[in-house]
Structure formats: structure tokens, C-alpha cells
């Protein structure tokens, strides 16, 4: 369960060292776009050494290079250990994810890993959006990140402040994830100084059904967490709903004049579950 996922370049020792300081639920150590071709080897090796020396007490996601790049195989060989939790796969298509799934199974067996590595596909091609229903069904897939910058490039459209150009992909990805009971993770907001814009964008994503948002700057994390956390009012109301449901086992009842029935009780359970996960209770 996540609210915020913070990108950290894999070749920056200072940023790696403080990766666990911020309140991000997950960190995404990037070996792909943030790393120049010249630095691919050193980023991979630095990330591996860092994780071996300083275990991170939160979900560690590695964004590897794309499956058709010459770096992909070596990324996996070196980086997949018990020190990581999840692989993020760029420009993911269903066949790529299945190939990654097979490779991970092989590595897990060879290295005798104690955990099953999860996969977050990065949906950033128009054709990936169109097959999102297939992507979310693959068992190892634990969430989907929408990558709006590459997607806009693929669509040959400009990114705008209100993100109207990605409205359809956003809605489709969110709905598909909800249907598959996995997390839809929203694209990062790239204007790092525009906090009001970030909050507005995150709230809109939340209204579409996204459960989390990727961050490209540590200063974005607390605001994203705030948007995707249940509010104090929601938590208080949900507690009352759950309390009421215990004593009204026969069906609907009312709180403050509102009818409380099964869907509201289920929603209250989800809110309390998230509140507990994020230490809000």
C-alpha cells in the first residue's frame, strides 16, 4: 500500500544516503532516464553496494533500463537481490512483463531469494495504454505507474498544466487497476517549485481512482502523502461506521441522518486499513 514513491538517481551517493529520510512510502532508485549512458555501470554498482551496506526500511523499487536496451540483462543480474522489493519496467508491454517475470523467477531460484520480487510496469506508450487490461492481469504486477512525459511524446502532444491530453490514459489506467485490485500510481508532477499545482494535480488523480503518485523531488513527498492519506474527518467517520456496523448486524443503519449500508461499510474498512498502514491511527 503506497501513497508516494520517490525517484532517486542511482548514481548520486548523497541522495541515496538520505533516501530513507523522507516520508515516501517507497523509493524508486533510477538506473534509466536519470542516468547518462556514461554512468550506467557506476549507477548499477553504486546502488548495489549502497543497498548491501545500508538496508533501507521501506519498499525499494529499481527502475531498470528498458527490456530492449543493452543494459537490461546486466541490470537484473546485478541488482536483483533480497535487498530490493520491486522492479519497475519502462515502456512495458504485456510480452515484456511476461519475459521479465520469467527472468525474475530464474534469478530468484538461482540466488535463492527469500522473497518474490514484484513488478510495476511503467505505462508510457500509447499501445501500452490500449492493452492495460492485459498488463494488470499478469500475476507479478503489483501496481502500474503512468508515465505521462514519454506518453505525451509518443502521442506527439504537448504537456499542459491541466493535463487534459492524458485524461483518457489516466482514467483508463486507473480503472483497469481498480478492476484488478492493484494500485494505480500517477505520473510525477514535474514543476518541483509549484506546490499548489502539485496538490491540484494529485487531487485530480485521486478523483480518478489513483492511489499514489510518483515524486521527482523530496519536497513533493509530504504534499502527496497528505492528498493520498485519508483525512482526519474520513478516519473519524469510518471508525463510527465500523463501530455502528458491529451493533447493527442486520443491515443498514444511520449516522448523522445518513444511511449506512454495505458499500459504505466496505469503504470505511478500506479507509481504516490505509490509516493503519500509514500510521494515522
Amino acid at each position: 500500500m503506497r501513497r508516494s514513491l520517490l525517484f532517486i538517481p542511482g548514481n548520486n551517493p548523497g541522495m541515496l544516503q538520505t533516501a530513507d529520510v523522507f516520508e515516501a512510502d517507497s523509493i524508486i532508485i533510477d538506473l534509466e532516464d536519470a542516468i547518462s549512458l556514461f554512468d550506467k555501470d557506476s549507477a548499477r554498482n553504486l546502488t548495489k553496494s549502497f543497498l548491501e551496506s545500508f538496508p533501507v526500511q521501506k519498499e525499494v523499487i529499481i527502475r531498470v533500463n528498458s527490456i530492449d536496451s543493452k543494459y537490461f540483462t546486466e541490470d537484473l543480474d546485478i541488482i536483483v537481490t533480497d535487498k530490493i522489493d520491486t522492479i519497475m519496467l519502462p515502456k512495458a508491454m504485456p510480452e515484456d512483463i511476461i519475459k521479465l517475470d520469467n527472468l525474475l523467477s530464474k534469478i530468484e531460484k538461482e540466488k535463492k531469494l527469500k522473497k518474490k520480487i514484484k513488478v510495476i510496469p511503467l505505462v508510457e506508450l500509447a499501445k501500452s495504454v490500449l492493452v492495460i487490461e492485459e498488463i494488470v492481469k499478469i500475476p507479478r504486477v503489483d501496481g502500474v505507474l503512468l508515465g505521462a512525459e514519454d506518453l505525451a511524446s509518443d502521442m506527439e502532444v504537448s504537456r499542459t498544466n491541466d493535463s487534459v491530453e492524458i485524461l483518457y490514459p489516466r482514467a483508463k489506467v486507473a480503472l483497469a487497476c481498480i478492476a484488478a485490485k492493484i494500485e494505480a500510481i500517477d505520473t510525477p508532477f514535474i514543476s518541483t517549485l509549484d506546490i499548489d499545482g502539485l496538490i491540484k494535480d494529485a487531487n485530480f488523480a485521486k478523483s480518478l481512482g489513483f492511489k499514489a503518485k510518483a515524486c521527482i523531488h523530496p519536497n513533493q513527498v509530504s504534499y502527496v502523502n497528505s492528498v493520498f492519506s485519508p483525512s482526519k474527518e474520513q478516519i473519524e467517520f469510518s471508525l463510527r461506521v465500523l463501530e455502528g456496523s458491529k451493533s447493527n448486524i442486520k443491515g443498514a443503519f444511520s449516522i448523522d441522518g445518513k444511511m449506512i449500508d454495505k458499500p459504505i461499510i466496505e469503504r470505511a474498512e478500506k479507509i481504516i486499513s490505509r490509516a493503519k498502514r500509514f500510521g494515522l491511527l
Binding site: Q17, V21, F54, P218, N219, S222
Partner: protein, 507 residues
């Protein structure tokens, strides 16, 4: 001799006995020194030196309200150098990189003793290397006026940079082409120095508001320029954008809120550093969300606090020093922007403003396992700061919070023992870092209050161990045996000694 913190006290000095020791003593005040001179205006500094008979062994004082824009101290000390005057005691509230010419005067023996509340630049380096022949006494903003009014620091001539003045000797820092704001640190000099000279580049017929009063002033030296107004702005008076600094600031604000100190009528001081100002900004958010209004903020004032005053979030500012030009403008026109002296700000015997603070946010170059704080030297022992109001506010405030990352440039901030104690751990309650918040075990009330807090509360030792995992354990720095300076606590006792550095470190 050792003091109660087991720190070295050179012969002839009083050892520190505790932060409340001053309460066992009565305030002692010498008579104010009133001028009898009626013809005050002079434009020739050489003639002024002749009239004042400034010679070997004199104590000359200066304030630092023009900060890095000050030219008055340089101008006067150039005359000292030109005349070959030796053994001057320099009593400056602050010495900045702008005053680097002092270094050569120390090496040449023109200046042999120094009192200061803050030193950076080359002056600190040459003192650390042992070139000052006599004593360096590092005072606090409250300790300095206390020592002047008690007659311990005897000033022969006070040179008071005054951005506007009249021929009678009235003046202030609020007007004139180089207005630098409130002149709080110089008031004790004005009252008690044997001779007082205001130095101005704006002589007018009549000054209406007089922070500097004519009756105390002997001469008014008119010069082409007292410096550059723009130099008062320090590079650190903006809210930090550094994510670590912001994380620390947010946690500090949450701690203060959870401690129950953000209520209607509360008071605060945060300093002008980027992280400290960020704390103020998070506190401001809490105030707005809960419709809370503060009674006052104090200390060096920045535009951030001016904006809070204008927004009605703070009733009053008690300003001893302006850190930027917005603060200067506000002090000039806003009656709730109160102008105070350093004595009223922090002198332990003057019922100071600091005693009414609910919380203060302070920085540290080092903090040790006993919560002692060093802001006087670097970890390598070079003098590059000073208490200013650090130990004054730490003692006065109900809650003293140090905000600092656990390491700076790969050097851990937490030490087993700090290189030099500026502020005793007895007065430091909490350390907020990016990796957790440590509460001083002396504050068992806070430890109890925060035992179920969602904030990450850890022991300072645990923070040190976490930091060492990243930095390794640094080797202890070795010093020469010679004491090059002492840190004087606000009551006049010596809290620590500063030893000569062993090597010539580069600044």
C-alpha cells in the same frame, strides 16, 4: 583550573558554575557617561584621533549592524595602522569577512586583545593560529552589555556607525542612504564608554527619532560613506529549499505543536538561517490553520517576520538587529515593530525579552552527548562564529530546539564532546535532525510527553551511532597547548577555552 563542565579556564578568569549562577548576584551598573562637548561635528578622522588622544593600549568599540557592508571599523583601524598605534583592544559586537584587514593588524601587534560576540573570515583564522598576543574573549549579545554596564569591559572610545545624524549628536539607523536598521547592540557603548563618536554619511539639520542620544555623544564624524547598506543582508535569510532542511524544519514545527506551545499569545525566536526560517513558515501554517496569533517574535528580524506582523499573525516584533531591508523599512514605520537594546534583549540582569520566549530555534556546528553546543569554532577548531544570542535565548526560552542535519560535508555534527562549548547542554532541550529527534534526558517532562508520539524520538547516542555508520568515526583533532581565546558565558564566567590550531588550516 576546570569549570563545572570540566572545561579549561585560564588563570585570572572566573569559572562557569551553571546557567542560573547569575541569580546569586546583584546587578552592578556604573554611572552613565554624559558628554560635555558642544562642538561635535568633525570631518577629519586624523584630527579626531588627536582630539581623543587615541594611543597605545586604548579600547575601541564598534557595532556590526552594517554587517558585511560596514566600513567604519575598517576606516578607524586604518588610522590606527597609519599611526602605528599598538596594543589596541578591539571591542566589536561582530567581525565579518568585510573586516579581513584586521588580520594584518593582529599579526603586526596593532591589535592585541579582542572582545567579540561573533567572528568570521580571516580574523578568526589568524586568532586560531595564535597570532593574537593577548586575549580573545567571545561574549554573548546579553553578556556584552552586562559586562559594559558593570565596568568589566571598559571602552575608551566607542565608534558608532549611524546612518543619519544631526550636529547635536542625535542619530539612528533607520534613515539615510545607508540605513541599516535598529542599532540595538551599541546602546551600552553609547551609555558607558568614556568617549563616544557617531560616524555618519548623512548629516541633517535635526533627527526626530533618536536611538542614539546627543547627550552621550562627544563627536560626530562626517564621512563620505559608512559602508554599503546592501551588505546587511546575509545570504542565509531565505527559507531553505534543501529537502533535508525542510524535513528537519517540518519535524521541529510538529514537535513544538505537539509540545503544546503554539497557542494564542505564544512567543518565538527562530533566527535567520534557512532551516530556522522554514520552521517559522511551518509554524505559520499551523497558526493559520488554527486561527492562532503570537504575542511576539524577537531577535534579528527578517522580512519573513515582517510579513507575519503585517498579516496580523504576530502582535509585536522586538528587534535588536535588522537582517534585511524590509526589516529596516518596517522598523521605521510600524509602531508594533519595537526597537530594543541588546541589554533589554538578553542581559540576564535586565529582565530581558529572551526570558519570555516560549521557544527558540537555534543552529549548531557541533552538539555533544550532553547536549552542549558549539557555534564558535568548526570541528577543526577554527574560529568561525560565536554565540551571538545563542546561549542567551537558550537560557531564556521555555523550549530550546537545535535544528541540524546529522552531518555536514561528511562530518558528523554530533560528537562525544564538542570542540568548544558555546551553550551548555543544561539549556538545550531538543535536537531535531533528519534521522530523528533527540530529547535531552534532563527534560524528563518532554520525554514522558512524547513517549507515544508519532514523531521519531531517539536518543542522541543512537543518532550518533546512525551517523557514524555513514561517516565512520572521525579522528580527534589535536590542538596546541596555548589558549588563544575564551568563551565567556553571559554572566561573565568562562565556559570554555579555545586552543590554538596545530596546523594552518585553509579557510
Amino acid at each position: 583550573m576546570k569549570n563545572c563542565l570540566r572545561r579549561n579556564v585560564p588563570p585570572g578568569f572566573k569559572p562557569f558554575l551553571g546557567t542560573n549562577e547569575y541569580k546569586n548576584h546583584k546587578r552592578f551598573i556604573i554611572d552613565e557617561v554624559i558628554s560635555t562637548n558642544t562642538s561635535k561635528v568633525i570631518s577629519d578622522i586624523s584630527k579626531l584621533f588627536d582630539l581623543l588622544k587615541i594611543t597605545d593600549g586604548f579600547t575601541l568599540s564598534f557595532h556590526h549592524h552594517l554587517r558585511n557592508g560596514d566600513e567604519v571599523m575598517n576606516m578607524v583601524l586604518s588610522e590606527v595602522k597609519k599611526r602605528g598605534i599598538k596594543n589596541i583592544t578591539l571591542a566589536a559586537t561582530g567581525i565579518f569577512a568585510n573586516n579581513d584587514m584586521i588580520a594584518q593588524l593582529i599579526i603586526d601587534g596593532n591589535i592585541t586583545n579582542i572582545y567579540a560576540n561573533y567572528i568570521n573570515g580571516k580574523t578568526g583564522k589568524v586568532i586560531s593560529e595564535g597570532y593574537l598576543q593577548g586575549n580573545l574573549i567571545m561574549q554573548t549579545h546579553g553578556g556584552r552589555p552586562r559586562s559594559i554596564e558593570a565596568g568589566e569591559l571598559k571602552i575608551d572610545v566607542a565608534f558608532i556607525a549611524t546612518s543619519i545624524a544631526d550636529k547635536f549628536g542625535n542619530g539612528n539607523g533607520l534613515l539615510g542612504k545607508n540605513a541599516c536598521g535598529v542599532l540595538g547592540y551599541t546602546i551600552a557603548d553609547m551609555l558607558y564608554a568614556k568617549k563616544k563618536v557617531i560616524v555618519t554619511d548623512s548629516l541633517v539639520e535635526r533627527v526626530e527619532y533618536c536611538q542614539i542620544e546627543a547627550k552621550y555623544i562627544d563627536y560626530c564624524l562626517v564621512v563620505e560613506s559608512i559602508g554599503k547598506q546592501s551588505g546587511i543582508v546575509s545570504g542565509t535569510t531565505k527559507i531553505t529549499k534543501d529537502p533535508i532542511g525542510l524535513k528537519i524544519a517540518r519535524d521541529a514545527a510538529m514537535f513544538i505543536e505537539e509540545a503544546g506551545l503554539i497557542n494564542n499569545g505564544f512567543s518565538m525566536q527562530t533566527g535567520a538561517g534557512g532551516t530556522s526560517l522554514a520552521v517559522a513558515s511551518f509554524v505559520k501554517d499551523i497558526m493559520k490553520n488554527n486561527n492562532i496569533k503570537a504575542s511576539f517574535a524577537s531577535g534579528g528580524i527578517t522580512s519573513y517576520f515582517v510579513s507575519m506582523l503585517k498579516e496580523g499573525l504576530i502582535n509585536n516584533l522586538y528587534d535588536v538587529q535588522c537582517f534585511d531591508l524590509d526589516a529596516v523599512a518596517s522598523a521605521k514605520i510600524n509602531e508594533n515593530h519595537k526597537i530594543i537594546s541588546a541589554s533589554k534583549y538578553a542581559n540576564p540582569f535586565d529582565n530581558p525579552i529572551v526570558n519570555n520566549l516560549d521557544f527558540v530555534i537555534l543552529g549548531a556546528t557541533e552538539i555533544d552527548l550532553d547536549f552542549n553546543v558549539n557555534v564558535t569554532t568548526s570541528s577543526s577548531g577554527l574560529i568561525m562564529g560565536g554565540s551571538g544570542g545563542h546561549s542567551d535565548t537558550a537560557h531564556g526560552a521555555k523550549l530550546t530546539i537545535i535544528v541540524s542535519p546529522t552531518m555536514k560535508a561528511r562530518t558528523p555534527i554530533i560528537k562525544d564532546k564538542v570542540t568548544v562549548i558555546t551553550t551548555p547542554g543544561e539549556d538545550v532541550d531538543v535536537l531535531v535532525t533528519e534521522r530523528g529527534i533527540a530529547i535531552n534526558p534532563r527534560r524528563f517532562d518532554l520525554i514522558e510527553q512524547f513517549k507515544n508520539s508519532k514523531l521519531k524520538i531517539v536518543s542522541i547516542k543512537k543518532l550518533l551511532e546512525m551517523t557514524h555508520k555513514y561517516t565512520g568515526i572521525p579522528k580527534n583533532v589535536e590542538f596546541e597547548k596555548r589558549v588563544v581565546g575564551v568563551v565567556e558565558y553571559r554572566d561573565g564566567s568562562i565556559i570554555d577555552s579555545i586552543f590554538q590550531v596545530r596546523n594552518n588550516y585553509e579557510l
